[in-house]
Symmetry: C2
Subunit: 317 residues, 2 copies
Amino acid sequence: MSDANEGYALAVDIGGTKLAAALVEPGGRIAHYDRMDTPPDVDAEGLWRSLEALLDKLQAEGGGSGPVGVGVGCGGPMRWPSAEVSPLNIPVWRDFPLRQRLRERHPGLPVRVHNDAICVAVGEHWRGAGRGRANVLGMVVSTGVGGGLILGGRLVDGASGNAGHIGHVVVEPQGPPCKCGGRGCLEAIARGPGLVAWAQAHGWRPDSRGATGVDLAEDARRGHPIATSAMKRAGRALGVAIASATHLCDLEVVAVGGGLSQAGPLLFDPLEDAFRAHARMEYAREVRVVPAALGQTAGLVGAAALVFAGDRYWSAD
Amino acid sequence: MSDANEGYALAVDIGGTKLAAALVEPGGRIAHYDRMDTPPDVDAEGLWRSLEALLDKLQAEGGGSGPVGVGVGCGGPMRWPSAEVSPLNIPVWRDFPLRQRLRERHPGLPVRVHNDAICVAVGEHWRGAGRGRANVLGMVVSTGVGGGLILGGRLVDGASGNAGHIGHVVVEPQGPPCKCGGRGCLEAIARGPGLVAWAQAHGWRPDSRGATGVDLAEDARRGHPIATSAMKRAGRALGVAIASATHLCDLEVVAVGGGLSQAGPLLFDPLEDAFRAHARMEYAREVRVVPAALGQTAGLVGAAALVFAGDRYWSAD
């Protein structure tokens, strides 16, 4: 069932705010972990050198034997599977040949790169909330809304590696404009910055900590009425989109992670209400919508799964 | 690539208005075809005997050698893959053990039963508008709205054989009630009887032919303004749902068949407008939404594909 049964995978998670990496055992346990803030004010090569330094340090901690493969989750979009990446939140990388660079650094090893939200979904399927189920949607609700789709026990890639992108399922055809150019996408409503804007327009005044979706979720937990309404708004939109995905893909488990999911029941209760109101086909009634189980490291675990369980999670090459 | 390379498949299509059957060659060509109206006023066993008589007659025409397998598309819902069927439009069959009966009739042969809309999608992928593409949604827009989903070159079944059911993707969360118990499903808006009711409420008076979705589509072709508005309404709802499915599943081709698709550009033009307005992610721009290519026999061709190309279309047993 595995491409490699011994040694560790070098797992990497590349985002706009942090670079994280880990040595992951074949069972999914993280043996060593390190991270750094994504450096500002560097060019494309400077960012690559920062990543290399992080990986050098981590591998030194790991001791003698090298990794058996490299798995990477990186912010999209990217050309896939060649992984020339152009992460929305990393402007200095545009068509950066990430996979090729890593192959040059690790000659002879499998190097597998996928969208970061897809890696989270894979992690949740391999070792998290979707474990043991064949039909799972994993979601990340954060600055954006993304996801990955496992059907029949295998990761679905779609035509260009973008399957699972539930953020652009339409939940309100006449709804707010989305940065994709469409209108009423789930992401246009439920992404952190969208919710923050909505809450501020309705009178929410964040304190000195900041005005992110996580801050809004924290205020909701403290009982702030506008923040609570914002979570309801996000929850309802998520419930409708998940109902559509459930009917279309005949799912068993939907695992919802990302910063906004920290709001807990304030998000999940209205989500569940909207989901149950719309997911009414008999086959949809057994579906469970649950919080993601792996937290911050889901993406690294999923990146490792691209290496260790490529039969299920890696169709390319 | 095939389960059987010689001989013919016995393909069967079971619906509320007609029973159809065919002897299908390994390449997909229909060698013999027969059909009958679904008999009214019979009980469950009477309907089974009618089906047997149709199959006997067809097999006699086919001459000496028996079929190499039996493929069946049947109206849903059904328990799958055991195929105890309870077709909405055939009230006398409730939990009727269709697959088991066919196995008793054809001992030793593969007998494979799937939802009729899924067989249409499979037919369109195997030999129709989706041929040669790996990521295809096939749809039937008729009395209901159904479909089937081929991803990565293989039919996706989902947890209970219901994947592809785009009729219950939500296109208007506050829209009209759906018979599933939800609200604003694509099917609630775009199914023939729903459109007919909407058109009649807006002043459409069908002539003596009847008042089905096909009649409405014909009136739209003749320029009737309310019928034309009804096609627009259906087209827009279809476009929104197909945009959601495209973003979620990263499709290449969507093939739309069924009686309502006979309205041609009067349906497909507003569909395309709504689709292009909502399917704005870069990876969705290459998708083509096209009329189904196989017409009335798509379901029989797909049923035969369950036998001849089980590696791609049959995951059960």
